[in-house]
Structure formats: C-alpha cells, structure tokens
C-alpha cells in the first residue's frame, strides 16, 4: 500500500495554475508547478487590459508571478514537458523532462547582456510574431523565473553570449534532464490555444494584412508590445479610424465541429473596442458584429450598456458573411446582412474574435494522464464535480475544463486546489520547508550604524553611474560606517559577504543601491534577517531601473542622481525601526452561512481537509434552491445528488448543522471570530477562524405579463415542477426571457435563465414532441458547452424569436384566451400566439437581508445588491476584509457546477488561513497614538479593510493583522495621531530634504 504524499503537481503556469499553486502552498503543501514555456504567466501575461475593470493585465498578474516564484513551497519547473504518470490517487510517480535552456539558472542574474549582444533576431511568439526577440531571450520583462533561454532552433552558435556573460551562466553543453517526482494529486491547468483563423477562409486572415486576431490586437494595444502601445494597422502602420470586430470565429460553428461557445469573446471584444477608443480617441469607430452578446457575468451587462451608450461602440447583430480587401489601401470590406439587405462596409482594420481550442497536444496529455476528453477534446467533467477528471486524484481547472474567463478560472482553480487538498489532508505540512532564522538582535538604544552596498550590476549600473564615486560619497553621510561596491549585490556569494560585513562592522541598518525593491527587497530583507537583524532595518535605492538605465547618455547627471537617491535611502535608514509582524492565533474552524448546495459543498470540503465547519441555515431543512430542481440539461439527477450530499453532510462528524438559525451579531477578525446565532429563540456563541457567506439569492416575484392574474402564467421553476410530475397540459408553450432582468431597475443578466428555459423546452419536447414551444429572447446566453443544448432545442423544433427593448412582448387576455404578441424581426411584424402556458424566465435577485448581513460583517455590496468581492478579476472568492469568503448565488447568479466550483474554492481559500497555527501579517502597519486621537472617525471611514475602528472609549484602534499599510488613514487624521510605520512622516520628510538638497 502506497503512502500518501503531501505534494501536488500543477500542470500549467497560467493564472489558474498559479492560483491553485498559491492556495496549496499557503495551506501547507508542496507544489511542483510545471510549464512548457520558459516563464509562468500563460495567456493572461499577453493581454493588455482585462474586463470589466479595465485593469492592466500585467499589473494584477505580476505580483502573483513574483509570489509564486519566491514561495518556499512552490518549485517552478519551466521549459519542461510531462513524460509519464504512474501510480494512483494519493501517490503518483511523475516523470518530467527538463529541456535545456543552455543557461544555468542558478548563475543567471537576468542582467540581459547576452540578449543585447546576440546577433540573431527572431519573430517573438509572445508578440504573436509581430515583434522580434533575440535567439537568447526572456519572453517578457516580468518573466518568472527571470532567466534567459537559448532558442536552439535559431541559435547560430556564435557563443558571443557565453563570452560576455559575467557570471558565466551560459552553458552550451547543458543536457536535457529527466526528473522523477512523487505527488499525491495532480491539477491540470494547461489553458487553451487560440483558434487558427486561417481555417475560416472567408475571413481572409493571413491573406489580408489588416485582419488580425484578438490576441494580436492585445499585443498591439499593450504598451510593452511590438508598437509600444500605439494601435496601428499592419498594412501601412496607419492609425485605424474604423475597426470591425467579428465574433464567433471558430466557435458556435458546427461546420468546423466547434459548436461550443468560447464564453469570453463577447466580453473581450467589447473591452478591446472600449480600450482602443480610449487609446486612439473618440474619433475611432468600432463596430462589433455578433450573434448573441453573451455578457452574463458580474456587471458585464453594465459594461456592455456603457460601451453602447457612453463609449459609442456600435453593435450589429449579424454574422459576417465574408471579408475582402481593397489591395490599394489595405482597407477591408466586410460583407453582411442587415434588415434583410446585404451590405458592405469598409473598415480600416478587422479583428477576429477567435475562440478557444484545447491546448496543443491535448491527446498526448490525456493519454499520459489517463483521462477522458469530451467530444470537443476538452477535459471531461460533470456538473456535480466540475473539477474532477475521469481519473481519481487528477483534477482540472481553467479553460481546459471548458472555455471561460479569468474570474471563473481563478475561482475554479481554488476549487481544484481544495479537491487536491482533500485527498492528502493528512499529509499537510509534511513536505514544506519552514525557514529558521537566528535570533534577532535588539538594536534599541543604539546609534544607527549604516552599511551601504552599491551594486555595479555587471555593466548595467557601472557603465553609466560612477559607482566608486557613489561609494566614497556614501561614506561621508551621517551614520554610515561602512560602504562598498559589488559586481552583483544580489548574487549568492554577495549575500554571504553582506552577512559577514554586518557582523564585522556591527551594522544595524543596511542600504543597498541597486535595482528595484519591487523584485529584490524580499531577497535582501531575508539576507539581513539571516544576519540577525530585523528585516525592516533595510532600505533600497533604485539606481538602475530608475537611474542608469534611463539616463544612459548623461553619466554625470546619473551619478549625481544616484548620490541623491543614496542620500535619501540613508536618511530613511537612520529613522528605520525594527517592526514585528503582527501575529494572530487561528481557530481552526469555519462558519458557513447558508445550507444550499454552495454552503453544503463548502462545509464538506472544509471537513475533508480536517477542519470543523458550523453550517447554519435559516430554514428548517438543508438544500436551498436545489430542492426545487428536478432535472438538468445533462443526464445528472439533481434530486438524487441532493439526497446524497445532505446525507454526507449529516454523517460527517466535523460538520455541525444548525437549522432555523439566524445570525445575530459578529465580533472579532480573521482567525478569531465570535458569532452569536439564534435558533428557535435560543442564543449561542460560536468561535471560528473564518466565515463563508453562501446565503444564496431569491427568485424575482414578477408582476409582468399577467403573472398572478392568470393561472396559466408561470415562472420557469413552477413549470419545471409541473414537468417533473409529467403534468403538461398544452399544445403551445411560450417562454419570455429576461423578465425582471436587463431592464432599468435591474440592468444585469441573471445568467441561468437561458439554460433553464432551454432545459424546460427540451423536457416539453421529450414529454410531448408535438407541443409548440416559442422562446422570446434578447440574447441566448448558453455559453460554453451548453451551446449544444441550444442547437438540440432548435433541432427539436423549438422556435426562438428575438425581441429588443423597443419591441417587448405583450400578454393579453381575450375571451379567456391567453395571447402573447411577439415581435418577429426578420418579418418585421407582430406575431400573435395563442398559448396554453406562458413561462416567465424571471430574474435572480439578491436576498433582502444582504444589507444587514453586510453591515454585520462590514463587507460591501455591489450597486445591484449582491456581495462585492475583493477584486473582480483575481480575487472573486475573497472579501477585502481578511477571513471572510463568498460563494454561490450570493456572489452573483450562476449555475450549479459554477456554485460548486466556487464553494470548493472558498474552502481552499479558507484553508490558507485555517491550516496555520498563527497568522503573520505585514509588519509595516499603522498605529494610533491615543493621546492625539480625537475620535473623529475619519480614519475608520476611509479604511477599505475595516482595519481601524473605534474602541470602547471612542478612540481609533488599528487591528494590525488586518492593516495593509496603504497609509490613507495617516493622511486623513487631522491631529496626526496615526503613524504609518516604515513610511512615517518623519522618514518621508527626511527623504524629501535629502533629494531636494536642503
């Protein structure tokens, strides 16, 4: 019998793989993160901005790359291939082939001298071959690991890089290496490949230069892309004034065998149009040609609406027939039909919204792992276990499970991590490295003794800034007792040297003048800590990225600037204080609020991982909305699943269920919550470490379309109940979509209703094929693989009629007949339909008591009344307040598998806290001098993390574990009672004086 292994292999270093790795590594498991390319980052690293926040993609991704790269429990295996997988769940033996970079990554410092001098230029794949790179390269500047690789295919073996490399890292003799690792579970996150638009010959991609794919447009728009962020068209470099976006290229295409919907292209096309207009100017005309606008996600319809109304993006509901070129101008003629009139419109540039395909060599991957693929060659999963593959112990997340956008990928990857954790829960903490440091020296009362280390960084700094002069200058500064220069201050041997000098000269503050603290501060803080000093007694001066590299033609001025920056760093160092990272104890249990499928799944996942879960439910039984769901689009049986999940919940010793229970009061903070609950009049207190909000949502109670007036008008749910009992009395059924959604009061989409309507339509056709079914819709949003059911419904004769805001259907009663007047856009006429049943696809609306719950937990709501997460893109399951998580309908309307993914996900997020005995937070936090506080409350009002509150005496107090160190409170305090450690007013004033040259 094989023992379980407390490690996990994550295949794919895109955003999903990285999230899963971080969740696992932060919960006490070792992670091997495998990627074929030379850096982690995946497709997200290539994007310019992300919807719906228009965040810069690299800005939000890069910190995650750095964290993953530095994490002691994550081992990156890049530029490598999966070869073999043997064993079974709990204990897999994996063989990996590490392809040679021809560069020794232990020696390479990422200085870039090799690439600067390499004579070979090659198309840059990262820029989709629009820019160039050298034969020795890094794929993008923020690559992790930041190590160079030789492209053996194009290298001409001139060995110039080898000759020039200062640490002698280039090694042409490097061989491929086979490694064998043991892991307990495997998570697949290999992402996707863009559809090759050359396969749609009618669009002319590859023949006409001004037709680009969406990923190419991302690189064109990106400030770090081949054109520096200037949007120009490939034909002549001119700035386009008119761009057409063609949707569904390679998706929803039965001809190609890709009937599925790629789920993200509608939104990314809108985003690209909006950003393009932002960059070029409002003179840019953007038109999006689409079939259905699938803006089903959180606040996506808002974004769509703004794009239309505020940002002037045009939308034409028409699938483009073909595109041709004017060979003289390079302009593209787009041929389509509008209002039954074939039209041709001329554009400067056309962007093809290409769909997602399974990753390259997916069959080989599936074979090695022994997993089943679905008919589209994506990973086979099922609704009630959306991250499980067909092989136990191997999980999947991200686009490979089904095409999806970034927030869905991130949530699902946490879900996969939780599943993996559940298998090896007993091995938690066994394979992780815990670093030991020598005891910290108490420097209290000592005069500052500062050591300054000035880096040459090879020639990067030294060739421009006169480093010896800076060193001599540093020696003249007050409290500097030692100064020297290094060739590479970040190299391993210099770390040793710094530690020696600290001992030798009894230094109690260290300043390094080199590159940027954003990448290297953690490294030097560790070095300083290894020498027995508090890590906050360290400061950096950026004399490379913000000095030598940008003032290459003015070496004298660069040297003067370097001196000023060193003076500033030294001035701050004089005032640095040792800081303790605040520590909170952790109660290893969670409170799950809500006993629906989300709450139950979260509780079960927590229990599987070894934590206690208190599951509180307002009603008298568990199950939530799932109690009213009798069948799904697919073959799964929801009522059976429900019974089985409820049984599992009750049988689990670690789960404590409280029915008929309300939350009365909450106190405390992450790791230490105290919640008062009331069941049947009795109050009780629960102590727990985290909170999971899984309170669900409510069905909108319609007043439209004669609901409540005529018994033939039903909601879809009521119809489903009847259909489940095989009670269908009618020859005609009309369904109206978007009742209560996508209107003035509630502008957003309720996401589930299109699938729900088609599910019922198919059921009707199953029970009674002759019954006529009409679905009146605005957009059919059966995204992902659900598109197959839309096609199926159409094949069974369900009729779909499109309506818009100006032509909303009308329901009337005439002589006892129920009449629905539907607009037919092609015939341009009102079609009266006498119907036996009118089913309304009503909205999913937030619960009435979201507001009071939000106030109790001090978490925010969106303008629509759902809960608001910390970051819509990269932290969909977390609240900004630490220790509180969100899943299911309470977050936003969603389908069962999505709720389950999120619910598993929150358990993984919670595990990063519950798995620790104590939580360490950032040491640079704010604190309040009570003598100066006047209790005005301005700071409590401004803190987004709820980290500062009034105590019993009405004075402000910082909960240091929650403080993120932004410093806003310090500025807002009228009396100056708040000090922002490590960025104090005195320190900053001293730096100002130093640089202005007082």
């Amino acid at each position: 019998m094989n023992e379980k292994v407390g490690a996990v292999l994550v295949i794919g270093g895109g955003v999903a793989g990285i999230q899963a790795s971080l969740d696992l590594a932060d919960s006490g498991f070792k992670v091997y993160l495998l990627d074929e390319s030379t850096s982690i980052g995946g497709t997200m690293a290539q994007l310019d901005k992300t919807f719906p926040t228009n965040d810069c993609s690299m800005c939000i991704l890069a910190p995650k790359l750095v964290t993953a790269g530095r994490h002691p429990n994550i081992q990156l295996i890049t530029h490598s291939e999966l070869k073999k997988v043997e064993g079974e769940t709990g204990n897999f033996q994996v063989t990996i082939l590490k392809r040679p970079r021809l560069v020794n990554i232990d020696k390479c410092t990422g200085c870039g001298i090799c690439a600067q001098n390499c004579p070979v230029e090659v198309p840059n794949e990262f820029d989709v071959n629009m820019g160039i790179r050298k034969a020795i390269y890094i794929p993008f500047p923020q690559a992790v690991p930041l190590k160079y690789t030789v492209d053996q295919e194009h290298c001409i073996k001139c060995h110039l890089c080898e000759k020039l490399c200062p640490p002698k890292a280039v090694d042409f003799d490097q061989q491929p290496e086979t490694v064998k690792i043991n892991v307990g579970a495997i998570i697949l996150a290999p992402g996707f490949e863009e559809f090759d638009p050359r396969l749609k010959k009618e669009y002319g991609y590859g023949r006409f230069l001004n037709i680009v794919s969406s990923i190419e447009l991302e690189r064109i728009m990106n400030a770090s892309g081949p054109f520096g962020g200037k949007i120009i068209r490939p034909f002549d470099g001119k700035i386009p004034r008119k761009i057409a976006f063609i949707q569904c290229v390679g998706s929803r295409d039965a001809q190609l065998g890709n009937n599925y919907c790629s789920a993200a292209c509608c939104m990314y096309a809108i985003k690209e149009a909006v950003i393009a207009r932002e960059q070029i100017s409002t003179l840019l005309d953007c038109t999006i040609f689409y079939m259905d606008m699938r803006a089903y996600g959180k606040e996506f319809d808002d974004y769509y609406k703004r794009a239309k109304e505020e940002w002037g993006v045009k939308f034409v509901r028409s699938r483009v027939a073909s595109a041709t070129e004017d060979p003289l101008t390079g302009n593209i003629f787009v041929h389509y039909v509008e209002d039954e009139e074939p039209t041709t419109e001329e554009f400067d540039m056309v962007v093809l919204s290409v769909g997602m395909q399974p990753p390259k060599n997916v069959e080989k991957l599936a074979e090695i792992l022994g997993i089943r693929l679905n008919k589209y060659r994506f990973c086979q999963t099922n609704v009630f276990s959306p991250s499980e593959t067909s092989k136990p112990g191997i999980f999947v997340c991200g686009a490979f499970a089904s095409p999806k956008d970034i927030p869905e990928s991130v949530a699902q990857s946490s879900g996969a991590a939780s599943k993996a954790m559940g298998i090896i829960a007993t091995e938690r903490g066994k394979l992780v490295t815990v670093k030991e440091y020598p005891p910290e020296r108490d420097v209290g009362g000592e005069e500052p003794r500062i050591g300054v280390f000035v880096c040459h960084c090879g020639v990067n700094i030294g060739a421009i800034v006169n480093v010896p002069e800076v060193v001599e200058y540093a020696k003249t500064l007050p409290n500097v007792v030692y100064a020297e220069s290094n060739l590479y201050t970040c190299s391993q041997d210099t770390q040793k040297l710094i530690r020696e000098k600290i001992q030798q000269h009894n230094l109690n503050r260290v300043v390094v003048a080199a590159c940027t603290p954003r990448t290297h501060e953690p490294l030097f803080r560790e070095t300083v800590q290894e020498a027995g000093l508090n890590p906050y007694l360290f400061e950096m001066a950026n004399i490379r990225d913000q000095c030598s590299w940008v003032h290459m033609r003015e070496p004298k001025k660069a040297t003067e600037k370097a001196k000023d920056l060193v003076t500033a760093a030294v001035s701050k160092a004089q005032l640095l204080k040792p800081l303790k990272k605040p520590v909170a104890s952790v109660i290893p249990s969670g409170l799950v609020i809500g006993g629906g499928i989300s709450g139950m799944t979260a509780a079960l996942e927590l229990a599987r991982q070894g934590f206690e879960a208190h599951l509180v439910e307002r009603e008298g039984e568990l199950g939530g909305h799932l109690r009213h769901i009798y069948y799904l689009l697919g073959p799964e049986n929801p009522q059976e699943m429900l019974k089985s999940i409820i049984k599992n919940v009750y049988e689990n010793e670690r789960i404590h269920v409280q029915l008929n229970t309300e939350i009365v009061n909450v106190e405390g903070y992450v790791g230490n919550f105290k919640t008062t609950i009331r069941s049947n009049g009795n109050e009780k207190q629960i102590e727990h470490g985290i909170v999971i909000v899984a309170t669900g949502a409510t069905e909108y109670n319609p007043t439209e379309y004669l609901y409540g007036i005529d018994p033939r008008v039903l909601t879809q749910r009521e119809l489903e109940k009847k259909l489940a009992k095989r009670q269908l009395n009618g020859k005609t059924v009309v369904m109206i979509q978007c009742v209560g959604s996508r209107n003035e009061a509630r502008p957003n989409c309720s996401r589930i209703c299109c699938s729900q309507a088609i599910k019922n339509a198919l059921k009707i056709k199953e029970l009674s094929p002759e019954t006529e079914v009409y679905v009146l819709y605005k957009d059919i949003r059966t995204y992902g693989f659900k598109e197959d059911y839309y096609r199926e419904a159409a094949s069974r004769g369900v009729l779909f009629l499109l309506y818009d805001d100006e032509h909303e259907p009308k329901a009337t009663l005439e002589n006892g007949k129920l009449l629905v007047s539907a607009w037919e856009p092609v015939l341009k006429a009102w079609v009266p339909i006498e119907t036996d049943i009118l089913a309304l696809s009503v909205a999913v609306v937030p619960n009435n008591d979201n507001k009071s719950l939000a106030e109790m937990f001090k978490v925010p709501l969106t303008k629509d009344g759902f809960f608001l997460e910390a970051h819509m893109k990269l932290r969909p399951l977390d609240f900004a307040t630490d220790g509180i998580f969100l899943c299911g309908l309470a977050h936003w309307p969603k389908l069962i598998d999505e709720s389950i993914s999120q619910a598993s996900g929150v358990a993984a997020r919670a595990a990063t806290i519950l798995s620790k005995k104590t939580l360490e937070a950032e040491g640079a936090v704010a604190y309040v001098n009570e003598n100066l506080c006047i209790g005005c409350g301005r700071c409590t009002d401004i803190c987004p993390y709820g980290a500062i509150e009034k105590n019993e005496r009405g004075l402000a107090k910082v909960t240091d574990v929650l403080c993120k160190g932004c410093g806003n409170c310090a500025v807002t305090c009228p009396t100056g009672a708040i000090t922002m450690e490590h960025f104090t007013n005195r320190q900053i004033n001293a730096m100002i004086k130093a640089v202005v040259g007082g």
Partner: protein, 529 residues
C-alpha cells in the same frame, strides 16, 4: 544660465513605481531631473509632503498612482485625487502655481507613459521657471537652551512669584478633563530645576494659552507667556509630533517669508468691491484664503468673512487699502516658539504697511489683532499703527449712528468671547454692542462669558486631542443650552474648530451637539442687506 528644474516624485508601489521600473527595463530615456520617493499608495501622499518639497526648493512635484478603479488598496488613488486638487489650490494661492504639481495615473505597463510624463513635465518646468522660494529653508532650527534663558523667562513672566495656591490648575479647562496636566506642576518643575523635563515634555504644548489662569492668578503669574518662552527652547520633534494637520498652515506661513514670494490671494474679492493699494485704513485679511482651502470639506464658507468686511466697509464709505501680497501675521509662529521667523514676517509686513500710507489697521481675526497690536510693538520695538478689531470699528459706527440696517434679522444669538480678543486684549463690549444694534436680534449670554469665557480648545493648531475636544464639546453644549439659534463669534479659528466637531464620521458620540455658527461680520453684512 538657468538651473535645471528639480522634480520630486511620489510613486505608488503597485502601479506608478512599477511603470517607472518598466521604463528602465525598456531603456526609455528621460531627463535626469526627477527624484523618486516610493510610497505604497498614492493615497499616502500627504499634502504636507508636497508643500515641504516646494518649501525646500523643488521646482515640481509629481504624484503617480494607479488608474481609477484599479487601486491596489481599493480607493486610495481617489483620495489622492481629491487631496492633490486641494493642494493645487494652495499652490495657486501661495503664488507657485498649480502647474507645478502633477497627478498622473500610470499603470505598471505604462513605462512609455512614465517617461513621456517626466520629459514633458521637465520641459514645462523649464518654461515656467525655477521655484523662487528656493533660497531659504525656514524651518525652525533648534535652540540649545541655557539655564540663564530659563531664568530670564521665569523673571520676565513673574513665574517666581507663584505661591502654589492652585487657582490656575483649578481654573484651567484642560486640567478639568486631563488629570495628568496642571499649570501649577509645570511652574513647580521649572522653579525646582527640572527644566529639561519641562522643555522636552508635552505639557508646554498642552496649554491652550487661553489666559484664563493668568486672568485669575493673584500673583500675576503670566503662565501662557512663560509657556511661549519655553516653547522657543523646546526640541522640534515634540512639536512636530503634536501639531495638527501635519504642520501645513505653518509651512505655508513660512513660505511667505521668502522675499520672492508673489501670492495670488485676492480671488475672493467680489465684483464691484472698492479697495485700493493705498489708503488711510488697511484691511488685514489674515490667512483665511488658505484656511478656506485646507478646511474645504467643512463647508464653512470662510471667505464670507472677508467678503462681508469689505462690503461693510464700502457701505460705510471706507475704501480700505489691501495688500495683494499680504503675509501671515505670524501668530502661530510666535506661539510655537519660532521667534526668528516671526520677526522676519513682522518686519516684512510692517514694510508693506508703510507702503500703503495707512495709519490704521483693521482686522476681523482676533489672533491677527492681538499680534499686530501687541506683539509687533513688543518684538519690533516700535509700531506706529493704530490697530482695530472690526467689532471695535463697528461699535464706533453704532455710537455715531452710522451703521444702518435694512430690516434686520429675527434670531436669538449667543456670543462667544474668543481668547485673543477677550482676555488677551480686553475687548468684550464692542461685539455685544454691535449685535444688539441689529434689529430683531436678541443677545443671550452663556454663564461663562467675558473674562470667564472658555476657550474653543485649540490654539495655533497645537493641543488638539481628546481632552481639548471635550472642552470644545462642552462649550458648544453650553452655547446650545442657552436656547439661542446662532452661535456668533469673531474668530475664524474658533469656527473652524467647532465645525470640525460637527464633521465627524459616524458612529458619532451621543454627547455631540451641533449648532449653527456665524461670524460677527457675516451677521452684520447679512443684516445690512
């Protein structure tokens, strides 16, 4: 040869600083005039950093943050936006010009944008010209005290006559709420040789200098003046830590000492106002235009005060001389121990007064009033101007029957005696005479009025803490309890401090009361309408 401009930049760690790094990684060159200070969030950038940078001679300040909606700390950048807009107004007033401060949103991928912004800004600053305030760094230098200096201060303020009777500590409003503070104890320590403790401690900064103790002291010990002398010898760090609003008002006052300064502070003057460069009577406005910006969110409409004064003066036929480059009277500097800078300001102001040929100075601020009337003469040796508080001027006009009201107002008013007008200078009746002369206005009195009035709780932006807040709240409750509709006073600082109370954020303490306030001049101008 024109010196190259120097730019101080505050860049947020997550976006702007990263963008600057990317410019480096991409080897995009830009002029070397910029010096970057890293902060975690653009919301950390305190307006005082910007002001200090300019005070020390920076030519331009750049603040870089994340694009709205993408702030790493949710909304810090939006706070930065509000604050920098506010700071620009201050820069316009002080004559530096708002173009010297730039707030830019730079994301981590916008290396090119960063370089472009720096290049453009440097070029713009070359055209705008250097910061003429470069030249003098006026921050107070520490003065090493000697026993002789203490002894001189003790003698000068009669401290040696103290009989330890305790009347001061029993009267002091701060002592009542803060049992660690007692004027008597400060005196004892000074007499018994514990000067070090006194000078480096917080007690000398806790005193409100309201003169209640010295008003009642049977031995005529002038305690607040002793405190003032001690402050001159106290270490700067204590003062910096205790001063409210991080020293912004003081920094602005210091900048006015610079001979090259050319303020733009008359924008509040309404159309049709009659003023002149020369005249027999000079209206000294004080720092209200700056305070109006610093306390923008209080919605105090402070500028109504000078507008009302000019309106009243014009209506009674006076065309006052006014200084377009008026300097701070220096009250706060004097009372926080910065005698050197105070003298410089005083000399400059007097030189400016002389140019206008004025013989009379009138002001609506009790602090300016006391400083001009009393302290200028004392410190400069001679001072040939007659100084009037607006209430004195108006009271004279009431006596002469020259103050006409159309109609009046129907309201009950309670009058608060500001320390600097009341106990410091003995002006109690003139404001009352003016109020009662307005038809329809009933005057109510608080029990503690005239010599017994209680201070609003803050002086020279020092001593703002929970104790002085209690004193302040208590006074407001006292005013409200009289049943008056309006609290009228003649000091803009008192009004600022009470308004601060009512602008607290929830949860607001249940003992808080709110009361409508009005400055005397504004009341009179309203009634004259």
């Amino acid at each position: 040869m024109v010196a190259e401009p120097k730019i101080v930049a505050f860049l947020c760690n997550w976006c702007a600083y990263a963008g600057a790094d990317l410019a480096g990684v991409s080897r995009i060159g830009y002029p070397p005039n910029i010096r970057v200070i890293r902060v975690m969030c653009s919301g950390r950038v305190d307006p005082v950093f910007v002001i200090r940078a300019f005070e020390m001679g920076a030519d331009g300040v750049l603040v870089g943050g994340c694009h709205p909606g993408t702030c790493h700390y949710v909304s810090g950048n939006l706070e930065a936006e509000k604050r920098m807009a506010n700071t620009k107004k201050l820069l316009k007033l002080i004559g530096l010009g708002p173009e010297r401060l730039r707030l830019e949103w730079i994301s981590a991928s916008e290396g090119g944008k960063f370089a472009q912004v720096v290049t453009e800004f440097t070029e713009d600053l070359r055209k705008i010209g250097p910061n003429l305030l470069k030249a003098q760094v006026n921050v107070k230098a520490p003065i090493p005290y000697t026993k002789q200096m203490i002894s001189d201060a003790v003698k000068k303020t009669n401290v040696q006559y103290c009989l330890e009777c305790g009347k001061c500590s029993g009267s002091c409003p701060i002592s009542k709420v803060n049992d660690t503070y007692s004027p008597r104890r400060v005196v004892e320590r000074s007499l018994l040789g514990f000067e070090e403790k006194v000078l480096s401690g917080t007690d000398i900064w806790t005193c409100l200098t309201c003169f209640l103790c010295s008003e009642r002291c049977p031995s005529d010990v002038r305690f607040p003046e002793f405190v003032r002398a001690c402050r001159r010898m106290a270490p700067m760090e204590v003062m910096e830590e205790l001063c409210a609003h991080r020293g912004i008002p003081m920094a602005l006052s210091r900048m006015m000492i610079n001979p090259k300064i050319k303020q733009d502070r008359m924008g509040w003057l309404p159309e049709g106002a009659e003023i002149s460069k020369r005249g027999d009577m000079l209206y000294f406005v004080g720092c209200i235009p700056y305070l109006d910006v610093v306390f923008e969110d209080f919605n105090l409409e402070l500028l109504k005060i000078p507008k009302s004064v000019v309106k009243i003066l014009n209506k009674v036929g006076i065309k006052p001389a006014m200084l377009s480059n008026e300097k701070c009277c220096g009250h706060d500097m004097l009372w926080t121990g910065d005698l050197e800078n105070f003298e410089k300001l005083a000399k400059k102001n007097v030189a400016d007064f002389k140019k206008t040929r004025a013989t009379k100075l009138v002001t609506a601020c009790p602090e300016c009033y006391r400083t001009l009337k009393k302290d200028y003469a004392e410190v400069l040796g001679n001072f040939d101007f007659e100084v009037l508080h607006i209430s004195e001027l108006l009271s004279e006009l009431v006596d002469k029957g020259e103050l006409k009201f159309d109609g009046g107002l129907s309201t009950k008013v309670v009058y608060h005696d500001p320390c600097r007008l009341g106990r410091h200078m003995g002006v109690y009746e003139p404001p009352r005479k003016v109020i009662t002369s307005i038809p329809g206005v009933g005057l109510l009195e608080m029990a503690r009025n005239r010599e017994n009035a209680i201070c609003c709780g803050v002086s020279s932006f020092m001593s703002c803490n929970k104790y002085s807040k209690e004193v302040r709240m208590d006074r407001l409750r006292e005013a409200k309890a009289t049943g008056a509709d309006l609290l009228v006073t003649t000091c803009p600082k008192c009004q600022i401090h009470w308004k601060c109370l009512t602008s607290e954020k929830p949860p607001i303490s249940p003992e808080m009361v709110t009361m409508e306030m009005r400055d005397l001049s504004v009341l009179v101008a309203e009634a004259m309408h």
